[in-house]
């Protein structure tokens, strides 16, 4: 079905609800003219329009500038549904529940790290399980795994991983409320047993980066960032555990949608009424997966600290967690809608929460500035640190983009460049890379992604997050 849209301003495009039968609200795309022209946009906009047809959607179906084709929901989509008469949809979270990013700062400079960078990346590759078919260094039976996902990051700290201070520095303090492991299938427990502390594959990575430019000095000071400082970024999610939970409920909600006579324009948008037992069951399981992902990134952080200490012997390297953000989630939040406090399930699929100043959900040290947000770019270019804003709260239910957003399919990316050529190209730029499968590296080539500078600039111009610092890769570890 062709999708019509109109340009509202430089960076806001509207898909009017009258343009397609069944739309309850407008679609709103935060993009520029160039991004709107790019190949595949029609089908993506169709996905934004489909979400606008789901029951109880509040205000608008949103698309961030990094929007690309997803399953049901586009990746880069945000939609809030009334907690009483809206819906909850696993497709609006994604298979990789709480895929997210954390940033760890060090008190090392790029000059101090460069001479030992190759050794460091190699040590990280040795100590962090990654890639296809890999088992983690922990193995948990069903009872222990249930305890872990109920306890979240605090459970991991009690077991001797990481620091107490890591808890406060994590979104939801690494333990989101509302989980219940009794709603987990045996399959999910089986898939999750050996994967805590593993990086995964695909677009998941660990990067040693340097702060290339501080853009907002005041906020950077609060986040503890300064130019030329080395930081470490980790991007991974809930592994097979989360994937299985999404699959379990995607399957069962096919029937649930029929039971409650919900209009579902796409099978991947299968849903349950927010107040139903089925929705509550999904939420309880989903929260367990959120916690699993936070534990996963927390344990990887523990391994990172060990690796840095073993290469740079002696001394205190800082290695403090700045923050950790989820970019695939559904959260029960309260927002002001037309002046009224409204509870809603905010679905962010490939979108990051970007809460502004004075929000109690944000760690106290960030309440003046707004929460940190981390936007990974692609391997060869930049990543960004942003801050959440007050404008985000009213414009996008406190949300912003999550990454560069893919432009090319994996098939097409591999036609453009070979994995070994890409590795040589990045190495010629001084970037050290270790990857599990070199031919597949081509799928993650910079050319396969939109320009993260452009994506982040649009979010900054719209006012839904503000630029704080630009980071550049020094070393990359991929599965």
């Amino acid at each position: 079905m062709p999708v019509t849209y109109e340009k509202v301003s430089d960076y806001i495009f509207k898909i009017p609800k009258e343009s397609q039968a069944g739309m309850l609200v407008d679609g709103v795309v935060y993009a520029d003219d160039e991004l709107m022209q790019q190949a595949g946009t029609e089908e993506v906009l169709g996905q934004v329009a489909n979400v606008a047809k789901l029951k109880g959607i509040i205000k608008k179906s949103m698309a961030m500038p990094d929007i690309h084709l997803g399953y049901g929901f586009a990746v880069g989509g945000v939609a809030a549904f009334d907690a009483r008469d809206g819906i909850l949809s696993p497709g609006g979270v994604g298979f990789d529940i709480n895929c997210g990013v954390r940033l760890i700062r060090t008190n090392l400079t790029a000059e101090q790290v460069k001479p030992k960078l190759k050794e460091l990346i190699h040590e990280l590759a040795r100590s962090i399980p990654k890639g296809v078919g890999t088992k983690g260094r922990l193995s948990l039976g069903p009872a222990d795994l249930k305890e872990a996902v109920a306890g979240g990051v605090s459970w991991a700290v009690d077991k001797g991983y990481g620091r107490d201070s890591d808890v406060e520095a994590c979104e939801e303090k690494g333990t989101m409320a509302g989980g219940d492991p009794e709603h987990l299938s045996m399959r999910a427990l089986e898939r999750g047993r050996n994967q805590l502390g593993t990086l995964g594959a695909g677009n998941h990575f660990l990067e040693v980066q340097r702060v290339h430019q501080v853009i907002n000095q005041e906020i950077a000071d609060v986040f503890g960032l300064n130019e030329n400082q080395v930081v470490i970024m980790v991007h991974t999610g809930s592994r097979g555990f989360g994937h299985q939970i999404c699959t379990d409920f995607l399957k069962s909600m096919q029937e649930t949608s029929r039971k409650y006579e919900l209009f579902i324009p796409d099978r991947q948008l299968a849903a349950a009424p927010a107040a139903s037992e089925e929705a509550k069951s999904y939420y309880k399981a989903m929260v367990c997966a959120m916690n699993y992902a936070w534990i996963n990134r927390h344990i990887i952080t523990h391994f990172i600290r060990q690796a840095v200490k073993s290469i740079f012997k002696g001394g205190n390297f800082g290695l403090e967690l700045i923050y950790d953000v989820a970019h695939n989630s559904a959260k029960l939040e309260e927002h002001s809608v037309d002046g009224k406090a409204t509870k809603a399930y905010v679905h962010r699929k490939g979108a990051t929460r970007a809460f502004g100043p004075e929000k109690k959900e944000v760690p106290e040290k960030y309440r003046q500035t707004g929460q940190p947000v981390f936007i990974p770019g692609d391997m060869g270019r930049s990543s960004f640190v942003l801050a959440g804003t007050e404008k985000a709260m009213t414009e996008t239910f406190g949300s912003t983009c999550h990454g560069a957003g893919r432009l090319l399919s994996r098939k097409r990316a591999k036609k453009m460049i070979r994995g070994d050529e890409l590795k040589r190209k990045l190495e010629s730029q001084g970037i050290v890379i270790e990857a599990g499968h070199i031919p597949s590296l081509a799928e993650e080539a910079p050319e396969a992604y939109k320009d993260v500078n452009e994506v982040v600039e649009i979010c900054h111009q719209v006012g839904i997050s503000s630029k704080v610092a630009q980071l550049k890769p020094m070393g990359v570890l991929k599965g």
Partner: protein, 137 residues
Amino acid sequence: MPPFETTEHTADIGIKATGKNLSKALSDLALGMFSIITCVDKIEVKECFEIEVGAGDLETLVFNWLDELLYQHQTNNFLFKDFLIKEANEKSIISRCCGEKYDEQKHAAKSEIKAVTFYGLKVKKDDRVQINVTFDI
């Protein structure tokens, strides 16, 4: 003619398999799925699993069968290469699927499949059977 083709999806990958009947299309489809994970030429047939699924419609049936294979692959660290479809109709698939355990010295680890999706999942039946599936990578 190759048993399957890969299809495009921005972030992920699809497989299209065409066979003279449903059984052949399913068998080629599953091989296509494992070709995403590893080089299937290197998989030997050493062990078999009986895999049976049911569903209310054909698309869900295909989804369930591939999902079951993926689950067995993930939890048993097993690579499948040979798919004997004993029975396949609109409501059920009964199969014996064979291969061997993943060995990092022998098998390339190409991509990790997170999940089977319903995106574009289609079974077309005329003089041949064609199945399209997209996988989340």
